[in-house]
């Protein structure tokens, strides 16, 4: 009989980072993410990779930015209060187009909030928390095994699109211990930032067909004596306030991601084909939703679940397609209704979208979701 391996979500995250080829972690302790740092501190030196504990979360972001600029795959892990501090440099990473991964294990907020309890209150902050227009990629795993795969995907997407990527976990996913279902010796596909065809006359922010400029790491000889700045810049990397340059640059920061939403955004369809009532959920709320759907299906109710694995870029067309023709769409979230705004935005106007919210630090139960549907006259 094969051995069953139990792993915690935060541990699975570190395993994913190792498989993805991450070789630098910088972080600051914060519940409920600290296990990621502890695992990195323990395992990285044994693998010839490096760990740094910084003086705060601002410095943690700064350090991984430095690491990324010299060509390394770097990441940090944090939670709400720390993530708030990271917003400044998250914008820098977006502007300078430096690939990196930020793991945010969400807890209740605002402020110190509920450090050890689950909430999904950061789902809009991840998208809009830093100032200025930009796009970003945010992944939301819902099981320990999926944490592993999504962590690898986070690094791959960061490299492919030269962008910060956020792995947005629920506290209860980060701390959950469950069966880790990754085959022994699994070799994931690894994506590295694309190199320019020639190092001669290298333009570090040159627009290309896919909107992603080829990359040479700083300090790597020919082509690497260029400039990175958080100022708005042209293709050479130097500051520009020329309206045309600014316009092209800022639009590209968004379009290089938004134009590829079909390749980036993933959803899982569960009994959606013939569903009359559709649940849309992500993270731990999708676990309860799934259980609710299974129960209702056993009773012959035509209920389905659309699970969002990617929160941003938001898959407008995909969600709209699934919502079309439904009697009702219901979105349970551990916040006061944040992602439901996106569903409402894209859902055909004749389909009612109902937000089911919970912010008391406890999880949804399948029964609560079923009762909500009954009370709302959906069943």
């Amino acid at each position: 009989m094969a051995k069953v391996k139990l792993l915690q979500g935060n541990q699975a995250c570190l395993e994913g980072a190792i498989s993805a080829g991450a070789d630098f972690f910088a972080g600051y302790p914060i519940t409920p993410s600290s296990e990621v740092a502890e695992q990195a501190a323990t395992k990285f030196p044994k693998l010839g990779r490096k760990f740094m504990q910084m003086e705060d979360e601002i410095a943690s972001m700064a350090a991984i930015i430095g690491a990324s600029a010299v060509g390394h795959k770097a990441f940090t892990a944090t939670s709400g209060p720390g993530f708030s501090l990271m917003q400044e440099l998250l914008g820098y990473a977006a502007n300078a187009e430096l690939p990196l991964v930020v793991v945010n294990v969400m807890r209740g907020g605002p402020s110190t909030g509920l450090p050890t309890l689950p909430a999904q209150g950061d789902v809009q902050q991840v998208r809009w928390g830093t100032h200025g227009d930009h796009s970003i990629i945010v992944l939301s795993p819902y099981s320990v095994t999926e944490v592993y795969y999504q962590t690898i995907r986070a690094f791959n997407l960061a490299e492919q699109y030269r962008t910060p990527v956020i792995l947005l976990m629920d506290e209860v996913i980060g701390h959950l211990r469950e069966r880790f279902d990754v085959p022994e010796g699994y070799q994931p596909e690894i994506i590295n930032r694309k190199a320019p065809e020639s190092k001669e006359n290298y333009l570090p922010f040159r627009n290309t067909e896919d909107g992603v400029p080829p990359f040479i790491a700083l300090g790597q000889g020919e082509g690497s004596r260029y400039h990175i700045t958080g100022l708005t810049h042209g293709e050479s990397g130097f500051y520009s306030s020329n309206p045309q340059v600014v316009d092209q640059f800022i639009r590209r920061l968004s379009s290089k991601i938004e134009d590829h939403v079909d390749e980036i955004a993933e959803v899982e369809e569960c009994y959606t084909e013939d569903a009359e009532i559709l649940l849309v959920a992500y993270g731990c709320s999708a676990r309860a939703s799934r259980a609710a759907v299974e129960k209702l299906r056993a009773q012959g109710q035509k209920v389905g679940l659309l699970r969002l694995l990617t929160l941003w870029p938001f898959p407008d067309k995909l969600v709209a397609k699934h919502c079309a023709g439904k009697k009702a769409v219901i979105m349970p979230e551990l916040n006061l209704g944040q992602m439901v705004r996106e569903v409402q935005r894209v859902c055909p106007s004749d389909v009612p979208v109902k937000s089911f919210t919970k912010i008391d630090g406890s999880l949804f139960t399948p029964e609560e979701i079923i009762n909500f549907m009954k009370k709302g006259g959906c069943l």
């Binding site: 030196p45 700064a62 400044e88 700083l218 300090g219 400039h227």
Partner: protein, 272 residues
């Protein structure tokens, strides 16, 4: 004729610094230092924060990064940790380093990571128009201290010493060769090196403090600075109002990146 150190500059000059600003002299002292150090330009990574000082990285022909206000040191720390072979220089202004970046500064000192930090101290926030910084002397005027500054200033050298930097020096732009030599020594030092470079800001500091003339400010620098060596022979009375320059700390201590490499090496040949 071009000065020998101009090969370390990019061709996108002129710079943005005001007439009479000392930052160009700091840049020349740094370029002169690189020439003495004999570093390959390809191995140099220069990182700055935000402010007038930070624009220096735009003019230097090496790998350069203009980061966020106060954040140059932790960015540099991550880069140095990952690519130890690079010669990493960090340029900061006084507000950049000791106000918004103060926490990063003391921790970089404590960590003793092999980075050379050059603090271009003009005692004011110049870029934003002359607000007082943590290094604006008590009683001096600024646009946010129009009646005189009642904040007490840091002594950057004492701050760096107290936080554990293993090389601490101060120079000024009226003594360019000394400043350049200090940068050389700081770069050669294994560990975290801090070099305060006193640089005049006639536009935003001088103008509000009755010293708007650049030449006059340079003269003041010449008059008030005394090398630590000369100071040894001077009385307390003679030293009243003087600012000491030279090397204050130069000691050996385990360096951060090397220590981490030792840890990695200790695992070679099996898990412990």
């Amino acid at each position: 004729m071009k000065a020998v150190y101009e090969k370390y500059f990019r061709s996108n000059l002129p710079h943005i610094w005001c007439a009479g600003c000392g930052h160009g002299t700091v840049m020349a002292a740094y370029a002169l230092a690189l020439e003495k150090l004999g570093y390959d330009k390809n191995d140099v990574l220069a990182i700055s924060g935000i402010g007038c000082s930070s624009r220096i990285t735009g003019y230097l022909d090496s790998s350069t990064m203009h980061t966020a206000h106060g954040r140059a040191l932790p960015v540099a720390s991550g880069a140095k940790m990952c690519e130890p072979r690079l010669k990493v220089f960090v340029f900061m202004g006084d507000g950049d380093c000791t106000a918004i970046g103060g926490n990063h500064f003391i921790h970089a000192c404590r960590r003793n990571i092999d980075i050379t930090a050059i603090v271009m101290n003009n005692n004011i926030y110049g870029m934003t128009g002359g607000q007082y910084s943590p290094l604006t002397p008590y009683g001096k005027k600024a646009t946010t201290a129009p009646y005189g500054n009642i904040d007490h200033s840091f002594d950057l050298v004492e701050l760096a010493k107290g936080a554990g930097a293993t090389y601490v020096a101060r120079g000024d732009v009226s003594h360019m060769k000394q400043l350049s030599d200090l940068i050389v020594e700081g770069a050669q030092h294994k560990g975290f090196s801090v070099i305060e470079a006193m640089t005049p800001c006639p536009t935003s500091f001088g103008r509000y403090n009755k010293t708007p003339d650049p030449a006059q400010m340079l003269q003041i620098f010449r008059d008030v600075t005394v090398s630590v060596k000369r100071a040894e022979k001077m009385t307390a009375e003679e030293l009243e109002g003087k600012i000491l320059t030279g090397v204050f700390v130069n000691r050996e201590a385990p360096e951060y990146v090397e220590d981490y490499q030792k840890l990695i090496d200790s695992f070679q040949g099996g898990d412990k």
